[in-house]
Amino acid sequence: MKIIKYTGLVIFLIGLAIFTGTIFTGSFSLTQSELDTYIQEKGYKSNVIKEQLQKAVVTDESLNIFEFSSRVRKAFETSNNYYDNLIAKYDAEKNWSKKGEQYQYKIYGKPHTLSYELAKKAGSGFVKENAGLVWFLTFGLGIIGALLFILPNLILLGKPGIKNDGIYLESATNRGWIAWLVLIYLVTFYLVLYFMADYAVNWTYILDPISNFLNGGNASQWFVYGFLYCTIMLVMGVRMYIKYRHNKYQIVRTSSVLFFQIVFAFLIPEIMTSLNMPGYDFKNAFPLDYDFFFEWNLDSLRNSGGIGIFILVWGVILTIVIVPIMVYFFGKRWYCSWVCGCGGLAETLGDPYRQHSNKSLNAWKLERWLIHSVLVFSLVMTIVTLYCYFSGTESFIGIKSQWIKDTYSFLIGAWFAGVIGTGFYPIFGNRVWCRFGCPLAAYLGLVQRFKSRFRITTNGGQCISCGNCSTYCEQGIDVRAYAQKGENIVRSSCVGCGICSAVCPRGVLKLENGPEEGRINPTEVLLGNNVDLMQLINKK
């Protein structure tokens, strides 16, 4: 069994190495006519860019993606600099009409994004030409290896039950060198995905056939991310099924997050795209779906006929009606640990790291400041955006619409949710984003704390303060602090993953939806003492 396990690990690492290695393969160049078509499609009017790009990429040299990217970015920079200089010159000469003319030649967009678009057309090589085979060597080997690594646990872990043996003795799960390597890999992955997508263009070739099948178009970096996301969740979901096979709540919950990720977040939007509809994730609620009210999205929905209007109405109803009502009845867990994609990844890929959330009082203070700030930030951004959208202005209460959207997307959307939220799993735990950053979680949390039937019931005086619940709380709640006082746990951050209840050796904790009355039950003395003493002390 152990041999199978370690063989699996080796196969997985080979798959991962090939996947990573594909980045460095292929050669990138365009023919003159391809370039001309591209420039025409994009409607570039600048002669400089035409000339520069021609020099840069119409070549017989075999350029790798890094060389290609650097040349393309330089071409755009040279072109833009050229016109910036002209603008400055005409400005100095006060030649306003000439100055104004130059702006049409400027090319907007992030350099790596411009480079990505061109690279997607320019690539050739083994990966692109053998997508199926390379898929097997990367995704295929990765999946097979990971499953071989995971499946023997059915036997190796022994009888069903809580199996946390060795978590704090192993490098991977105890912030050792393996954890740091994983962190570096994940962070690098997110940096490439968000900020240097052109470097990962080879990955998109691997998935072009699948993408074409699903939505009729080639794969983008976001398709790669979505596909990878689903694959990882499925494989790590298998791990969850084995690890918690004695616990039906975990089994049902894991199935639910897998279903919503694969069907709602991945398949439905892809199929909608293939039907010429706007691809929409019907479960992704604003303000987690922070660009729902961005101009481009509103325009796209308004121009998509009935389905667009439906999505618009659904999105609004989801956030202001469905979400709070469901939280009232079931707690925020219905979303955060049963439906949400971020939660889904945290509960599958992130499960081995759940113990790393910080339980200190200071971390709780930071959490409340940070998450509510992000909620306010997202709301301000949306108000500004909507005001500008309907009034046609560029700013509101002194805030520029474009600036605040860009800032939010960069700081919150990319850095917080992605790079830190997922990249830092192995060190800070699997719910950093959900706990400190997610504006939707903040909103759900407020409802859960003040108006909900959900609580974690503490079973009388049975707590022995062992600390398993607090240790394995991914949201950094000091569960024990309540349980050992006989107090129910009603916390805005609780996502109802149910692990505290699962790891409790004395059957003290139960997630329940019950009457609101008595949900919050501060007690001074626990059950077990005679009734007089309890009454006496609780009266005070």
Binding site: L169, G507, I537
Partner: protein
Amino acid sequence: MKHIVIIGNGISGVTAARHIRKNSDHKITIVSAETKYFFSRTALMYIYMGHMKFEHTQPYENWFWDKNKINLKEGYVGKINTDDKVLKFSNGEHLSYDKLIIATGSKPNKFGWPGQDLDGVMGMYHKQDLEKLEKYAPDNKTCKRAIIVGGGLIGIELAEMLRSRNISVTFLVRESSFWNGVLPAQESEMINEHIKEHHIDLRLSTNLKEIKADENGRVKSVIIEETEEEIFCDVVGLTAGVSPNIDFIKNSQIETKRGVLVNRFLETNISDVYAIGDCAEQQEAIGQRRNVEAVWYTGRMMGETLAQTICGNKTEYKPGHWFNSAKFLDIEYQTYGWVFSERNKKENEQYFQWRHPKDYKCITISFDKDSHQFLGINTFGIRMRHEIFDRWLTQNQSVEYVLEYLADANFDPEFYKLHEAEIVAKFNKENNTNIQLKKKSWKRIFSKV
């Protein structure tokens, strides 16, 4: 403002300190030789098993003590001078007190076995025991086999710990079936099966004769009393129960028997000296309880009660209905009220028992043969609500009532398979009754007595 000194920073002492702080501004000092900060003793096993680190077993962050003005003093009390109200530490320091609370807990029993103090022989009680285990049994190369002597709760935990590192374990149990002095046969036998399933070499009706040393004074093997068999091993765990940790009190004027003798107000024979927790011995038994109760929960309750007395509200220690819990490897156990084993049960006590055909789940309900009053329940693999059973016991409900409303008591996680219907059906069949199981009702569950 009085100076309250508490010897021992376990659950009893710390609970007393916390409640004294809540209700007064007395100066409080907690003395401990084991660790500076309070930790949960019951969680030590999880550190060795890698579920947690030591810091996770500490229920309060380190700033808590300063913030609540509870002084922590590390040191070993050698002598108590009750005339001058002074503690003398083994390093010669002194500390005077106005009121003294003795909460020194237990120590593992040793029954005078030859070799019981050799290197590699240890109990599993103190933090230092854990450190020793880590030294002598870090892995299955250093420790090829461990022998555990004594089949109680600590013994089975130690076995589980060692098995988590794939160390071979031989488990010597004096009784003919695991813990059958406490558990009814059905449950005891189920645990026997489960122990063996975890590849633990369970030896029932087996006593230790002696522990043998190698040339370096390290444990080499044990000899079995009954068969003279020699079993080679690298570690011996002595887990044959615990007794009050009060040797340092024996030469003081404080009256002791097995533990420090206290009355119902937890007062000793010396005024302003109290004892709580494992080390306290009630002069007269309370209900069916033992005079010395080495249980987490009772320690906590005594701490809560004594804090009231110290803060001027003299309060009798009146533990409510008995309850307890444990975990035997993968099987959770809870008990409410009194269920005695066949060996110890009285004439009027009758069992109703149910066991799941495949899974490790079973219950034993004890009730009065004549009045049918519900006396207690043991539940294995099914979680039950403490508050509900506590209420039923207070209300002297009948066994039929308990079964009728059993669904209210279930505390298993959502989506778990429920067994109340099977349980009730079995009772009906055995007793020719026609109890109809009521559906779970939030209203009943959350109604106050």
